[in-house]
Every structure is written in structure tokens, then in C-alpha cells.
């Protein structure tokens, strides 16, 4: 659209539009085989975040791993991944073909893992940024996520910060009393950016047996059901801090993208909605332009934080 500027920036990383994918919800290497042989080239998202990788391979949780709830999805994938080494060997070279910056999401079972993983990626030119997923069950905390504790979050961020000069994002969990405090801890630890939100703790019972339906017991809630929670988190965090925020949680329509940006996001990630339509993102870009135009907003930068007033 003439005169529209949808570009947005995460530090030095320029995105051609604000819509990226959320980690764990779009596997471009699989999709390239299933959906479109040319997906790596004509990629709809403005940045690509692969599924979180950990130091060691993880087979993930016992199935069932999914359960649909009202306008939401519970999952307990359990960070199934091939481990950072195999990822760097097998996937990174293929992902280099992507026409979009690559943001690698890492998680640690120990605080120190964050530094190790960030360090391993530090001089890989394919990698534009590193995202720390601090919602991973932490063995030093009896399986609780270190992302619930400001102190641990700051330390994990510091480890990563010392290991890499790449753009560093910390992904916040909403399962805390004060998400702004967590965001502040991340920034204190050296984060360049925060993303919010990861899934909301939830649970479902099998309608018949009345036992927890997920093999793992409980899981993380995503999708439109959590959008109001996510929007509030983005609003509060972006008002409380000076770093850019990547907003996510239930983004399904162009209107949702608009609202997350207005709430304070510099870029927006789409997760569960990709399961309704794996190639949705491309269409939302046009929709976003239209909505902005109707409201007399001519740039993504002018949209970010518009609700703060």
C-alpha cells in the first residue's frame, strides 16, 4: 500500500513487517516438505523462531500432549527437541536458506545451560538473535521454571549475555504475580528485548475417566482464550521498560496484530493460530495494512504503544 511502512526493528535487526512466528508452533523444515516446496524462500513470517532447543536432546512428554479447550489449546510437548548440537549441525545450515532473520530459542535445565547454549551460537552468522525460554522445568528448582523467579531470570540472562553479543531476547512466562518485575530482572541481566507471553498454566481432565488428560498431567494454555492476559502483559511490560517487546498470545487476526502493537509490541508472534491455517501470516500482513490505513496510521513505528496515550 502506498505510503505504508510496515517495517519494524529489533535492535539492528530489521523486519519487513511485524508478524513473526512463536517458537514451537511452526516447523519450517517440515512445512517446506508438506506445504510448499518453496516455503523457505517465500516465507510468510518476518522472522523465524524454531522450536526451543536444549543442551541435551529431549524426547518430550508422554502423549497425549494436546487437548483443545474453549478457544484455547493445552499442550505438554515437553520441549521435545534434538538437542542444540544436532540442531546446529542438521537444521542451521538448511535454515540459512530462509529469507528472514533467524531467532534461535534456547532453554536450560540448569541456569548455566543458558550461557552454554548462547555461547555455542555466538559466532554462527545464520543466527540473528537468541531467545531465552525461561519456562523450561529447571532441575535446580525441583522442576519449577526459573522464569518464575526474578533472581534466577536475571542470572540466566547474565550467563547468556556474557556468552554472546547477539541480540538477546528473554521470553516471559505469565504464571507470576508480577510480570513487570520479571521483565525488569531480564533487562537488568542484559536482555535487549523481552517477548511475552509463553503459555498459561492449565489442566484438563478426561471427560470419561476424570484423570488428567495430558500424559504429563498439566500443560500450557495458548490461543485466543489467553489473548486478554497476553495483551495486558504486553501493555504493562512495554510501559514499564525501555526495551522493545515482542507480543504474543492468541494472535489470530490482523485486528489482533494491530491491538498487540498498540498495546506496546514492536513485533508480534503468532502461535496456535498457525494450527488453524499454516499460511495465515502472509494474509494478515495485507489485513494489517488495511486496518492501519482505515485508522490513519502509516507506520508500524507509529502504531507501537498507541494505547498508552
Amino acid at each position: 500500500m502506498a505510503g505504508m511502512d510496515l517495517t519494524t526493528r529489533l535492535g539492528a535487526i530489521e523486519l519487513r513487517h511485524p508478524i513473526m512466528n512463536a517458537s514451537g508452533t511452526f516447523d519450517v523444515l517440515e512445512a517446506d516438505a508438506v506445504l510448499q516446496p518453496d516455503l523457505l524462500a517465500g516465507f510468510p513470517f518476518s522472522a523465524y523462531v524454531p522450536k526451543t532447543v536444549t543442551l541435551k536432546p529431549r524426547e518430550g512428554n508422554v502423549p497425549p500432549r494436546l487437548y483443545e479447550t474453549a478457544a484455547g489449546l493445552l499442550n505438554s510437548i515437553g520441549l521435545a527437541n534434538k538437542g542444540i548440537e544436532a540442531f546446529m549441525e542438521e537444521d542451521l545450515p538448511r535454515l540459512a536458506a530462509l529469507k528472514a532473520p533467524l531467532i534461535v530459542s534456547v532453554a536450560g535445565e540448569r541456569t548455566a545451560d543458558y550461557g552454554v547454549c548462547a555461547g555455542m551460537l555466538a559466532d554462527r552468522s545464520e543466527v540473528a538473535a537468541v531467545e531465552l525460554n525461561v519456562s523450561c522445568p529447571n532441575v535446580e528448582l525441583d522442576g519449577r521454571a526459573l522464569g518464575c523467579d526474578p533472581d534466577r531470570t536475571r542470572r540466566a540472562t547474565e550467563e547468556a549475555r556474557q556468552a554472546t553479543s547477539k541480540f538477546l531476547i528473554v521470553k516471559l512466562t505469565p504464571n507470576v504475580t508480577d510480570i513487570v518485575a520479571l521483565a525488569r530482572a531480564a533487562v537488568d541481566g542484559g536482555a535487549d528485548c523481552v517477548s511475552a507471553i509463553n503459555t498459561v498454566h492449565g489442566m484438563a481432565l478426561d471427560p470419561w475417566t476424570l484423570r488428567p488428560v495430558l500424559g504429563h498431567g498439566s500443560g500450557g494454555l495458548s490461543g485466543p482464550a489467553i489473548k486478554p492476559v497476553a495483551l495486558r502483559a504486553v501493555y504493562l511490560v512495554s510501559r514499564g521498560l525501555d526495551v522493545p517487546v515482542i507480543g504474543m498470545g492468541g494472535v489470530t487476526t490482523a485486528q489482533d496484530v494491530l491491538e498487540f502493537m498498540a498495546a506496546g509490541a514492536t513485533a508480534v508472534a503468532m502461535g496456535t493460530a498457525s494450527f488453524r491455517d499454516p499460511l495465515l501470516a502472509g494474509r494478515l500482513v495485507g489485513g494489517l495494512e488495511t486496518l492501519m490505513k482505515e485508522r490513519g496510521i502509516s507506520s508500524a513505528a507509529g502504531l507501537t504503544g498507541r494505547s498508552h496515550g
Binding site: Q36, E59, I77, S274, P278
Partner: protein, 285 residues
């Protein structure tokens, strides 16, 4: 066991095999499809919609992810449905309404629009030559029609065994009237009383000298599939192959979410891209 990397399988591994005799599949895509038929078939409902692309590309045992078109977000995600039959530009699915998603889909009326992603998954491998023993249980009979048709086109000799709980489910056996099927019901209301696993051992006999061993194709509830897998692995006839189509919860259908995994010998495998059809012996039962 280590997580098995999610890689597209190399060429020549059975995916391409299954393609033999059919044109190569187009890539899967999301289609906006108009419902042109919606009718009850006993306890199930047959829904047909227009989709030339999927009709041209789909192979027996593949599935589609289907949801109502439109902005309503409950149900949120599409539901996996086996492809029951194909017309020149039509796809039929057979739905058992068991919950919110399938109930909503089963209520589709002529003229409604469905968002359909497909064709998806690895279907049945039709390469072998021995007698085909097709075993379906409940709504699991649905994808077996396309399979039976394909095997018939290839001139494979076939035994078709369909099992149901009750009369209202068994009505769907009428959809297989082009084939010579045997019907079993648990309550004896239609056909023979009993489970489909009962006639199975009698089908798995050593082939005549020089002929290939029989091959089992099965789709149905978990307990049925594991009975079928056990019976064929224990039948003592060398070379019997058993292909099963499994049903798990799915979110994406395209290999993105890792939600649909089933346990295989080497670790978890994704039912959506590595299945839904597996060799029974690959899986942990």
C-alpha cells in the same frame, strides 16, 4: 530413547512407493470448500465438499484437517478426518460425532463452507502383491473405502472385514457395497456377532508356493489395532506385513507442533507426517 529428528523421509522410502499408479500429490494447502452433501449414515454422517485439488492429489489413507470456515473460535482447531472417498472434484468424509469438534462438523449443512487443509500424511503403501486383508473397526472403516477401491483397481485379491459396536454404526457397511465385505457387530445385531479380530487368524494362512504373503491393512480404535498387530505378528506366516492407521490428537497436521506423537521403536514419531499409516512392527504396542 532419543527424539527422532523430524526430517522429511528420503525418497524411495514408501511415501513415493504409495504414489505408484497415481499422479504425484500436489502440496497440501488450505482450501475453502462448499458442502454439497450431508446425510446420516446410521450413527455417522457423510459430508461431501468440493475440492478439486485435494481430489486430484489424495491417496488412500491420507487425511484432511477440517473446520468450519469463519471467525468463531470455539471449536478452535480443525479436526483430522480420514478421506473416505473421492469424486472428480469432490471429497467425502465420514464423521462420528463424539464431541464438540466432530459434532459441529457433522452438523454441516449443504451450502456451508469448510476450511480444509490437505491432503496430509502418509497413506497406505500399496506396493505389495499378496492377498489384502482389510480390517476396519467403527468409524475407522472410513478411509478403507478409498483403500479398497485402489486395491481393486490394482487387481489385488481382498478380504474386507468390518466390525461395529451396534446396528447404527454398522449402517456404514452399506458404503462398502461395491466390495464383498463381512460385517461383525459386538451385539450381533448385524452380520456375525463378535470382534473383527476373531476372523483374522483364519485370513493369515501361508500363501500358495511362490505367492507373496498376505498383507493386513487396519484402521480402528487403539485396542483393535493392537489386537490386529498382535495376531499378525504371531500368526507364524513369514512375510506378513501389517499397516495400521492410528488416530491421535492433532493440532497442526503438518509436523509443526509435535503433539500427535506415538511411541515407535526408535522414539516418538509424528502421526501426521510420518503416519497416520505405520507398519505395525515400527510401533510400540
Amino acid at each position: 530413547m532419543a527424539a527422532r529428528p523430524a526430517q522429511p523421509r528420503p525418497a524411495g522410502d514408501g511415501k513415493e512407493d504409495a504414489v505408484k499408479g497415481r499422479e504425484a500429490p500436489g502440496p497440501a494447502a488450505l482450501h475453502d470448500c462448499r458442502v454439497v452433501e450431508s446425510r446420516p449414515v446410521g450413527a455417522y454422517r457423510l459430508i461431501s465438499f468440493v475440492c478439486r485439488e485435494i481430489a486430484a492429489a489424495a491417496r488412500p489413507g491420507q487425511f484432511v484437517m477440517v473446520r468450519e470456515s469463519g471467525p468463531a473460535l470455539d471449536p478452535l482447531l480443525p479436526r483430522p478426518m480420514g478421506i473416505h472417498d473421492i469424486g472428480s472434484d469432490l471429497i467425502s468424509i465420514l464423521i462420528e460425532p463424539v464431541g464438540k469438534g466432530s459434532g459441529r462438523l457433522a452438523a454441516s449443512k449443504v451450502g456451508d463452507r469448510l476450511a480444509v487443509l490437505g491432503p496430509l500424511g502418509r497413506g497406505f503403501d500399496l506396493q505389495k502383491k499378496g492377498q489384502a486383508v482389510i480390517v476396519g473397526g467403527g468409524i475407522g472403516v472410513s478411509p478403507l473405502k478409498l483403500l479398497a477401491r485402489a486395491l481393486a483397481e490394482r487387481g489385488r485379491s481382498m478380504r474386507l472385514i468390518l466390525g461395529f459396536k451396534s446396528r447404527d454404526q454398522a449402517a456404514s457397511a452399506g458404503l462398502f457395497r461395491d466390495f464383498d465385505g463381512e460385517v461383525f457387530t459386538e451385539d450381533g445385531s448385524v452380520g456375525s456377532r463378535g470382534l473383527v479380530s476373531e476372523p483374522l487368524p483364519g485370513c493369515l494362512l501361508p500363501p500358495p508356493e511362490g505367492e507373496p504373503a498376505p498383507e493386513v491393512f487396519a484402521c480402528g480404535p487403539g485396542p483393535m489395532l493392537s489386537a490386529v498387530a498382535r495376531i499378525s505378528s504371531e500368526c507364524g506366516v513369514p512375510g506378513v506385513r501389517t499397516q495400521v492407521s492410528v488416530a491421535t490428537h492433532m493440532a497442526c497436521g503438518v509436523g509443526s507442533c509435535q503433539g500427535c506423537v506415538v511411541a515407535a521403536a526408535g522414539g516418538y514419531v509424528k502421526a501426521c507426517t510420518e503416519g497416520p499409516v505405520f507398519d505395525a512392527e515400527e510401533l510400540k504396542w
